[in-house]
């Protein structure tokens, strides 16, 4: 395993300290592994988080117009309730706090436990659950769909709404609206290596790719041969478009890299995605291309669409200033 680290046990702490040093607007709370804004303002607080290994998520989205606090667990492991409570406290200015949770049972259990405990301390806490990954069948019975890169859009929308002075219910409603309109689908060309494990989670052959894998090294739904950028766009978008009706609408597009895929390839993919959307009479309103929700050193990508209405457009366009996403 080749990684620029000191010890597998200290990666989370060291990365967060390194981040706080690089971005002086951020405050790092040690032991509890919380990154929050140094300057608090009177508004609904937005807290997100989850396992580490998805950098810049989640700490990279802390800042004006997005999150107030991000809570980090160990690599690919949910943060514990005590950490989340600290995040809630950092984010709370008396107007209540919205938790943006990705749909993994570990995250849900830990965030809900923290919510229960924070409410005992009279902090009003609401939560939304992101489940944008169409690779996994939807179902009310099972845990159902995972939350992946679309979470970044939820941070943006909820953050903008909160920054605009909306109350907790309104912020939650905006986040729910975003979630309802977001779908994602991913593809991996190589798995990732957990620092503590030292070898990849799954191994792909020289010419194999994995469609619909998760962002924690979970294997996907189909293993196939290497595809062109055009075919990749088609495979990923077909799944997304089959799941939700985007026709005739305006969308935000997120072409997300999983950590080891160069921007060159993401932009080539964007070209193909845009072609298909145009063909299908779906109008691209705004596009984001980059490493937004990664999976350690996995190579591959995901494509996310968010259907927009006037409110979502306005919130998407609202200025934000975070290490990983800036809108001017």
């Amino acid at each position: 395993m080749k990684k620029i680290i000191n010890h597998p046990n200290s990666v989370v702490t060291e990365l967060l300290i390194g981040m706080a040093k690089a971005h002086p607007d951020l405050k790092y709370t040690d032991e509890l592994e919380v990154i929050s804004r140094k300057v608090k303002s009177k508004k609904v607080g937005i807290v997100s988080g989850g396992g580490s290994g998805h950098e810049p998520a989640h700490a990279g989205y802390v800042g004006k117009g997005m999150l107030d606090a991000a809570v980090a667990g160990n690599v690919f492991s949910s943060p514990s309730p005590d950490r989340i409570i600290k995040g809630i406290e950092e984010a709370n200015s008396g107007e209540g706090v919205l938790l943006v949770i990705k749909n993994y049972s570990g995250d849900i259990m830990n965030f809900e436990m923290a919510k229960d405990m924070a409410e005992m301390d009279d902090i009003r806490v609401e939560s939304v659950v992101v489940k944008d990954d169409v690779a996994v069948p939807d179902s009310t019975y099972s845990t159902g769909r995972r939350g992946i890169a679309g979470t970044v859009f939820v941070h943006k929308i909820a953050g903008a709404k909160a920054e605009a002075g909306a109350n907790l219910d309104q912020v939650k409603a905006a986040a729910e609206k975003a979630i309802a309109n977001i779908r994602s689908m991913g593809m991996a060309m190589n798995s990732c290596t957990l620092p503590a494990v030292g070898k990849p989670g799954f191994v792909l052959g020289e010419n194999e790719i994995e469609i619909g894998m998760g962002i924690h090294g979970e294997p996907g739904v189909e293993r196939t041969s290497v595809k062109t950028a055009a075919e990749t766009a088609d495979i990923l978008l077909s799944k997304v478009l089959a799941d939700y009706d985007y026709s005739g609408s305006e969308v935000a597009v997120l072409i997300n890299g999983l950590g080891a895929t160069p921007l060159m390839e993401l932009y080539i993919l964007n070209n193909e995605v845009e072609k298909i959307l145009t063909e299908k009479n779906i109008k691209v309103y705004k596009t984001f291309v980059g490493n937004y929700m990664t999976s350690l050193d996995m190579s591959g990508c995901s494509v996310t669409l968010m259907k927009l209405d006037e409110e979502l457009k306005e919130l998407l366009d609202a200025p934000c200033d975070t290490p990983a996403l800036k809108v001017l």
Binding site: F76, S77, R83, M109, E112, M113
Partner: protein, 214 residues
């Protein structure tokens, strides 16, 4: 007369369980690697390591405080799914022990039932979902059954242990509905659930320890 466990005794059990978990590292890691993310053993092992460190404090505590402490440590140290589940389990069990100085047969059954309920509630899960519940649930059912039938405590611990181990083994045939295995194309069918196995290690160790106190 039956067993009577003090908070000091429970600490003895914790030591034995820690050792049992510790020695099965590769096996449990492989189970979680097959259907999940491979960290279950290291999660739970580090939890028990921290419990061992906290023994000096725990020994002096009431059972109520001891169980709450165990819950807090598990919750904050283990992280992931099993941390919050064991945290909830021990917090739930603590309530049963309010004002008690010792754990007797009926108390132990109540503790395990409280743990089961806390885990099912926090995990939004039922028996048959291919989780640790599939070990704990049959163990609790068996325990209650033994008490109803007024079986001897010697017989009881043997039967409860058997129920737990068999319950854990039964997860191999199940389709996962909770936990990471549900993202696998085959829902983990054919693989044991790692959380059920480590739950079985703990119940097994506990029942064996109780047997030494009879």
């Amino acid at each position: 007369m039956g067993f009577r466990l003090s908070s000091k005794d429970y600490v003895e059990y914790i030591k034995l369980a820690a050792a049992k978990i510790h020695e099965n590292g590769d096996y449990v890691t492989a189970l979680d690697a097959a259907t999940g993310d491979g960290d279950h053993w290291s999660n739970i092992n580090i939890g028990f390591e921290k419990l061992i460190e906290a023994i000096p404090v725990m020994e002096t505590m009431s059972l109520f405080d001891e169980f709450k402490k165990i819950g807090m440590i598990m919750m904050s140290v283990i992280g992931g799914s099993s941390g919050v589940l064991y945290g909830s389990a021990y917090m739930g069990a603590a309530k049963v022990l309010k004002d008690k100085d010792v754990i007797e047969n009926q108390d132990m059954c109540n503790i395990m039932e409280a743990m089961l309920n806390a885990i099912m509630q926090r995990g939004n899960a039922k028996p048959g979902f291919k989780t640790m519940i599939d070990c704990l649930y049959p163990a609790v059912e068996c325990y209650k059954d033994c008490i109803t039938k007024a079986l001897s405590e010697n017989e009881t611990v043997v039967l409860v242990k058997k129920a737990a181990v068999e319950g854990a083994q039964s997860t191999a045939a199940m389709e996962a509905i909770r936990g990471r295995a549900c993202y696998q194309a085959n829902k983990g069918v054919g693989h044991l659930d790692p959380g059920a196995i480590t739950m079985a290690y703990q119940i097994e160790t506990l029942m064996d320890y109780i047997a030494t106190k009879l």
